[in-house]
């Protein structure tokens, strides 16, 4: 029934309407969107387009931008060794933290949803705690600090696992793993909350109906009822995880230092900060942002395609 209706409305558009008719039919919808659109265009769309345009220029924020064509991009991809390290780190980082944190968000919200209401509220807070607490991740700096007073070192020494303190942030092989742990700890954020709320929205009678139809255990229930009902939230969560796992920067700067040892904690975004906020080469910084933008869009398209198969 729904399918047929959607098709006919689609056909209506093909018989192209005049602007006046479009306005007449959809006036209220446009009016509802209007306030958001104005703010969105002024504070998001125009700045983004401006930034993409700036990426084709050399711009030091003092003199007027000079058009340089693709040279920022060519420099980035061919001459900038550090950028290539940053890309490698970022992709490695995202490949590990992205899927794991997405799964964590779902699994934990699903398990929490099974608990009785009061316990559920407490557990939600427990798991959301790292995200709500602003810069509480700085505590990891204390934990992994290099002298024997660092918590990790003091415990390792006490347990006799090591003889002298490990210089966690001065050895390049430790930096990325630590950043990954901290990012995973931080990862139950926006998507987690939206999953929690989404699970509340699933119609409870569907589970009873499913039981009559022969669903035997919680895993089948998950695949045939919960997941299909959660599709809008799963899509939302995917976009959030992609953006957050590909744009790691703050924890790297705060924990591993800036620049980090042998650029071991360098990500695309820390590279962007370098050129945007320290060297004031806005053209170059904009080119970095644009490349990251397209990496994210590309990832998003692939992930959205994969998600369409869920529960099918």
């Amino acid at each position: 029934m729904l399918m047929i209706k959607k098709k006919t409305t689609k056909n209506n558009y093909k018989m192209s309407m005049s602007l006046k008719e479009i306005w007449k039919y959809h006036k209220e919808k446009y009016l509802l969107i209007l306030p958001f659109s104005i703010i969105f265009i002024v504070f998001t769309v125009i700045p983004v387009i401006t930034s993409i345009v700036i990426s084709f220029t050399s711009f030091n924020m003092l003199e007027a931008p000079v058009f340089v064509g693709l040279s920022n991009y060519i420099n980035l991809l061919i001459n900038d060794d550090v950028f290539l390290i940053a890309v490698k780190n970022t992709i490695l980082f995202a490949l590990i933290t992205g899927p794991i944190s997405y799964l964590m968000c779902f699994v934990f919200s699903w398990l929490i949803n099974e608990l009785p209401p009061k316990v559920r509220a407490i557990m939600t807070l427990v798991f959301y705690a790292p995200s709500i607490s602003g810069n509480a991740y700085l505590i990891w700096k204390l934990i992994f600090s290099s002298d024997m007073y660092g918590y990790a070192n003091s415990w390792l020494l006490k347990l006799g696992i090591v003889n002298e303190p490990i210089l966690f942030f001065n050895k390049k092989e430790y930096v990325l793993p630590i950043l990954i742990i901290v990012q995973l700890w931080l990862s139950l954020g926006v998507s987690f909350l939206s999953f929690i709320a989404g699970l509340q929205n699933v119609d409870k009678t569907q589970y009873e109906a499913g039981e009559i139809d022969g669903i035997k255990n919680r895993w089948q229930e998950l695949w045939y009822i919960t997941l299909p009902n959660m599709k809008p939230q799963l899509l939302f969560g995917a976009v959030m995880q992609i953006t957050s796992s590909l744009s790691v920067s703050q924890i790297s700067i705060e924990l591993a230092g800036y620049p980090s040892v042998e650029y071991s904690g360098q990500t695309i975004l820390t590279h962007l900060y370098d050129y945007g906020t320290i060297r004031y080469e806005m053209g170059y910084a904009s080119a970095i942002a644009t490349i990251l933008f397209f990496i994210m869009i590309f990832t998003n398209i692939i992930v959205q395609k994969a998600l369409r198969r869920v529960g099918a």
Partner: protein, 296 residues
Amino acid sequence: MVNILSKIKKSYASRKFSRRNRSLAVDILLTIFLGIFGLFSVWPLIFAISNAFKPLNEIFLFPPRLFVQKPTLSNFADLSIIVGNSWIPISRYIFNTILITVLGTIGTVIISSMAAFPLAKYKFPGSKFMSNLIVYSLMFNGTVTALPNYIIMSRLGMVDTYLSVILPAIGSTLGLFLMKNFMVQVPDSLLEAAKIDGASEFTIFWKIMMPLSKSAWITLVILSFQTLWGTTGGSFLYTEKLKPVSYALSQIVNSGIARIGVASAVTLIMLIVPVVVFVIFQSNVIQTMATSGIKE
């Protein structure tokens, strides 16, 4: 002990209809799993809270202890002395934060829900384009747009006003995207029924869509509140009198007047309000939606 176990087993045997697909063994396993990860998640925070009450000698104790032994309020007393010495009263900063947070949150929820409703439920010329634009804009990094943003704001004469912080927050794409994905779930038949009864789109939005997507906008309230509460006013607020409390407190911590104990006290104070707001609203999500799922 055996008594309790047999009791639990009995309650599993006589459980309600919707809980029949559960087994005790897996439940126990999953609870242990949740507990371990819950501890991992929450312990640095417990540590931070406990630190705020530690006297100086305990903060530098080796090996460090998780819980405070002799709790003291001296960190908070020190903080209040430092705050009292600043030339703008702290109440002014607090007022600024509350103004920005409350107006920003209300605006975000209303404006993004209004826009999300037609984009989620109808197809009309430009709707698909708009939806894509919003998703993609979420992926563009804000560092390089800060400069164009600043130019636009100064042209509009908004630099150094509350609006420069509130307005961009209200146009939050994240909020719209969240609301849109929830509103898609609301059955079309409900909207059609209202339409047949002669309701305008605005009425449908306010009387049907908003109550049904309560869990979504409460989530948005939490997120928006949390972000705005932590805002430092960025590079748009110059006048000291307009700055929010998190800026003032971060100045105290960064300027080195404060010891590590005061820094922990600051962390705790900044943390408490979002946590309280979170608890109040989040339990609201859970209570209201537990009884009323969306039905066709």
